[in-house]
Point group: C2
Chain length 320, copies 2
């Protein structure tokens, strides 16, 4: 839509994105359990650009990863992919709409062993992991009790982050367990699936009204989801997830030590990390160059212009 509006004047619009599609992220939770196809959450950018381009305007799509912005010379430096060729693109006006990326807060092992829900591939990976674990558990159940511990591990899903994404995902997982899995794998398997929602804050959906959070929590619990609040993940090593009671930033050394003494680790089949978002490297780099102090995004004025620049605007999750 924005593209169509720009396109009504005599302009040349260039869309630069490393993804060939526009992704509607709220649908990722559904696609990760197979309720909708991933395709439904992706709108191909090339076709979109094509249909939005009018005769008066040229609109083109460049599949490339913007790496650096030179606000003085009005240039964007991009590469065609991670080890690709360099591109230099000039602009008159620049709109930065790169969104955000998962933030693991530096907790060891999360990046390597966790699953995420931010990109289309994340959802496909989570879906594949869930199905693969189910098939393995079903296959192992043909050998009697020999693999009971492994079956329980395979069927334990931990979702870290009690925000809207985590809550939505747990609800989808619960539906998946109670319907699809019952139908396809039988109750022997579905009954053994454990879904655990982990939130470091004292309650889920912290930015929302408490009454709303309570309704959501009761709903999840009624569907068989275990909700662990005030609980933080401190360490992940392969299938092994270590958790302990979370402490506020103001906690004393004794309080922290006491929390640490309660640390427990458990083996899980899947760890999904939806606990926070942070700025993308491009955004951090530009914020730093502009002398901005908040590295969570780009500070903009009331017209969405990035402070300290001319003709550069930021919208969405990358704007503060």
């Amino acid at each position: 839509n924005a593209l169509r509006k720009c396109a009504s004047a005599q302009k040349s619009v260039v869309i630069v994105s490393p993804r060939p599609h526009f992704l509607y992220t709220p649908l990722l939770a559904s696609s990760s359990v197979g309720t909708i196809t991933l395709r439904s959450a992706c709108e191909p950018l090339r076709a979109l650009v094509e249909s939005a381009a009018s005769k008066a305007t040229s609109a083109t799509f460049v599949r490339a990863d913007a790496r650096e912005i030179d606000v003085h010379n009005k240039k964007v430096y991009a590469t065609t992919d991670s080890d690709g060729m360099g591109l230099e693109l000039s602009y008159d006006k620049l709109v930065i709409a790169v969104g955000a990326q998962p933030n693991t807060f530096g907790i060891p092992g999360v990046q390597e062993h966790g699953l995420f829900l931010k990109e289309a591939e994340d959802s496909a990976k989570l879906h594949a992991k869930l199905l693969s674990n189910l098939e393995k558990a079903a296959a192992l159940s043909h050998q009697g009790n020999k693999y009971a511990t492994e079956i329980d591990r395979l069927l334990k899903v931990v979702v870290v982050g009690g925000g809207p994404t985590g809550v939505e995902l747990c609800a989808e997982l619960a539906d998946f367990k109670n319907h699809d899995v019952v139908k396809r794998y039988g109750t022997d398997i579905s009954d053994r699936i454990q879904i655990i929602l982990v939130e470091a804050m004292p309650r889920i959906l912290m930015p929302f009204d408490e009454s709303l959070a309570n309704v959501a929590k009761e709903h999840l619990v009624s569907k068989g989801v275990e909700v662990r609040t005030g609980c933080g993940v401190t360490y992940v090593e392969g299938q092994d997830v270590t958790m302990q009671p979370s402490t506020p930033r103001t906690a004393t050394a004794e309080q922290k030590a006491e929390a640490a003494s309660k640390a427990k680790s458990e083996e899980v089949g899947a760890l999904v990390w939806v606990a926070g978002i942070g700025a993308r490297p491009l955004v951090k780099k530009l914020a730093k160059q502009l002398g901005q102090t908040d590295m969570r995004g780009l500070k903009v004025d009331e017209t969405l212009k990035v402070e300290g620049t001319n003709d550069v605007y930021a919208i969405g999750d990358c704007a503060l």
Copy 2:
């Protein structure tokens, strides 16, 4: 269908497969250019088994990779995945229907750098590669002539193997070039796409009638496919493919040396290997154990019973 027929008696049927779907391989060529979705070529095994199981029979699906067959003790040893748990499955009657796998004839680099068209993932990979190359070429074309050589490399597709799969794939690629690519990327890009079919024999579709092969060849050429017969790939290193005139097995040392002196290498965007099939390790292992001499598959009698066994049958590409 076979399952439904078995299921009409009081039997218990267990299907063992590492893939969760039945794959209709002839559709892979179409799905690799996006004409049909990969989903259309895959029939989910679990649902199939479920619908075929009647009240009189139990049919179950076990997602596992059969690794070894003990025909004396009537057992199949399988693992849940490549580094998975071991399963031991007993049988009264065993049907081996594992198909075949690509055969690279030991040509260096093909396994590592080539793309194939035998499994669902192969088709998805080829599709992703084609689109990624197109997007890169389109992005690079925004920098004038700076990247002309790289654009031509990205848009060069070599298909090795002039059998039905190779011919079908080249026809699909030509349609993709002449329709989808023209529409989405414009003629500047589509005109630069090169599709090359390489066949070691003097003509394509060798097992078929020569008149049929000629019609197919003319059709491909008319669509812009370059057909190189009597040409063999000898070496692949990254994007670099080396080819030379092929020599018959009876060629003299001089003839071989002359062919080798004509070797040329070229950089390609994609190398698709559809030049031959061979037996899967499970089949080779069993054939060897049974003292069979032809390692291309399992020798069966007129009832499809594997020679030298009781109650073991082989069907499809794994039977000779």
